[in-house]
């Protein structure tokens, strides 16, 4: 009962109280961490590992999508919001108005957005403009034969998308369709990256996208090029960092205002060698890899 009460108190009280006040009876400080579905497994892995590093802090992770994390940040109900896209200026403004503090941004890892098809599909590479015609409103590509693929049991392309609070959805729209274009109506909007991979693996005519950490052996990752004349590249650490793979992005964490000491320690640990090793273990690109290859992510993405 006491444990339940403590939990309830620490949950309800976290919006306005500082770390000191938020300590539950067991003496643990609680960090609330919500947001990106792309990052939820990674964040969970960090949280579990951090429990062995600093036993006085407990990190509570939940997903829901980047939009959910940002919404929680705006409402002031979360300590760290995970985000697989940049915060919009409008959202930043609302967060400042609501909480009186400026959101602070931290790049914690990199991700190449993987595009994949079923293993039965002979397609192995695709260009950004072809992707835009498949996914975009009034797009001209609806059949596999238009991509030169024949011998599919059904010619129709099954377009798998994400629901609109996904940071991956926002990033894909911006990077592939351009700022102004919308997705076509009638795409299959899955609730999470896992569902996307699941459906693509089990549906011969499907195409889908997610963070590279979610790709499994049941789906085939496509090589991607900017236009058909260029050569295409697989999503991996080298190609993402060298900029050859065209749809790579930073994974971000946002705090409201300057992080408190407890949160700052946690973030510092995430940036450390130990924390970044977990990034690689979860299939994403660690920051440390960036140091060798020159930082092309820092601006404009």
């Amino acid at each position: 009962m006491t444990v339940l009460l403590c939990g309830a108190i620490s949950l309800t009280g976290c919006a306005r109280k500082s770390d000191e006040q938020r300590r539950s009876k067991s003496g643990k400080a609680v960090i609330q961490n919500t947001g990106s579905d792309t990052m939820v497994n990674l964040a969970q892995a960090w949280a579990e590992e951090y429990a062995t590093v600093d036993s006085t802090v407990s990190v509570e992770v939940s997903g829901g999508g980047s939009g959910t994390g940002i919404a929680a940040l705006i409402n002031g109900t979360v300590d760290i919001a995970n985000c697989s896209r940049k915060i919009e200026p409008d959202e930043r403004k609302r967060a400042e108005e609501n909480t009186g503090k400026t959101p602070d941004e931290f790049v914690v890892a990199y991700d190449a957005l993987a595009v994949f098809v079923s293993k039965q599909n002979p397609l192995s590479e695709i260009s950004l403009s072809q992707l835009a015609e498949i996914y975009g409103e009034n797009g001209s590509i609806t059949k596999w034969s238009q991509l030169g693929i024949t011998g599919m049991k059904r010619d129709e392309i099954i377009v798998i998308n994400r629901q609109s609070n996904s940071g991956t959805y926002h990033y894909f729209r911006e990077a592939v369709l351009g700022k102004k274009r919308d997705f076509r109506l009638g795409t299959y909007d899955m609730h999470g990256s896992k569902d996307v991979v699941e459906v693509v693996a089990r549906t011969p005519g499907a195409i889908g996208f997610s963070g590279m950490g979610y790709a499994t052996h049941d789906v085939k990752m496509l090589r991607i090029c900017v236009s058909e004349a260029d050569s295409a590249f697989l999503p991996n650490i080298q190609n993402a960092l060298s900029g050859k793979y065209p749809i790579a992005r930073p994974l971000l964490m946002y705090t409201i205002g300057e992080p408190t000491p407890v949160i700052k320690n946690y973030l510092d640990w995430i940036f450390s060698k130990h924390g970044q090793k977990i990034v690689a273990l979860n299939g994403y690109i660690p920051l440390t890899a960036d140091a060798h290859l020159g930082n092309h992510f820092s601006e404009g993405r």
Binding site: K180, T187, D189
Partner: protein
């Protein structure tokens, strides 16, 4: 002595009041819920909400960068199509099961069946959704040579399995409520068991059976997680059983988390909530009137 009597009177009054409050509370809750849902959506409903677009356009682009559109027609069509399919499956099966349980089977089989059917109701909807996403998707692709199995049919089948327990248990109650004298009289006149059922019992219990079916409809309309995962969550008006749809409930579930508090998008989702509330209210009202029909007939 006098004192004790007063005390008893007072406590009795207090208990009466308390029980009255318990009884009346559900009304308070329902109106409270309606009030809060309505309040969240009201700001946009009366200021800038385009009802014509909402009910006639299928273009649902709540987060578009250049042109935000809130057309819910496809979502409404999605909800109705999935509900219709699930009822077409669940009502015959549910009522058939109810008739078998109340009229034909031995007490032992009856117990086993009732427990098993109630177990169906206990399976969490997200598990149903996962079954739809993985097992049914592939089955439908193979059986119907469909491009993808996340379809109206998939969602309808899963919702049917979810609403069968309600239909069975209420349908069985309705049949049980028919007095035994009806059965005995019918058999005495030389009717067979089957004749007794469809000439005597079904007409006598028809209001209760209708109520069972309508409560099943309410379950199907309101289900969220299973349809979110099993129907493909795709904005279009379906023209066949093998096309995907998106329902009103699934749209709220998928998008409410994102929508910043009190933004237009957030308020539109609450307007969808009001619409759903109205639909289930009408369905339950009809079910209730039907049930009241039985009581009047019985008395």
């Amino acid at each position: 002595m006098q004192n004790r009597g007063n005390w008893e009177m007072l406590s009795e009054k207090f208990i009466e009041r308390l029980i009255w409050l318990c009884g009346i509370s559900s009304i308070l809750f329902v109106f409270g819920i309606f009030f809060f849902v309505f309040r969240e959506g009201a700001g946009f409903l009366f200021d800038g909400f385009n009802a014509k677009e909402f009910f006639t356009s299928i273009e649902w682009y709540p987060t578009s960068q250049n042109h935000v559109r809130y057309g819910a027609l496809a979502l409404i069509a999605g909800t109705f199509s999935v509900t219709l399919v699930s009822m077409a499956i669940a009502v015959p099966f549910g009522l058939g099961a109810a008739i078998y349980i109340s009229e034909f089977c031995s007490p032992k089989v009856k117990e086993v069946l009732k427990i098993t059917i109630e177990l169906l109701a206990a399976i969490p909807s997200v598990v149903w959704g996962f079954i739809g996403l993985t097992i049914m998707n592939q089955l439908i692709i193979e059986l119907f040579n469909a491009p993808i199995g996340l379809t109206v049919l998939n969602g309808g089948l899963i919702l049917a399995l979810m609403s069968v327990p309600i239909i069975v248990s209420i349908g069985e109650d309705a049949l049980k409520a028919v007095p035994d004298s009806y059965r005995e009289a019918s058999l005495a006149l030389g009717a067979t068991r089957w004749q007794t059922i469809y000439r005597v019992l079904l007409p006598a219990a028809k209001n209760g059976l209708l109520a069972a079916a309508l409560l099943g409809v309410g379950r199907a309309v309101g289900e969220t997680m299973a349809v979110l995962m099993a129907t493909g969550h795709s904005i279009r008006i379906p023209t066949s059983l093998l096309e995907p749809v998106r329902t009103l409930t699934a749209t709220i579930a998928a998008e409410l988390g994102e929508a910043p508090m009190h933004s237009e998008h957030y308020q539109v989702l609450f307007i969808i909530g009001i619409l759903l509330f109205t639909i289930t209210f009408v369905v339950n009202l009809v079910a209730d009137l039907a049930v009241r029909g039985i009581r009047n007939q019985a008395s």
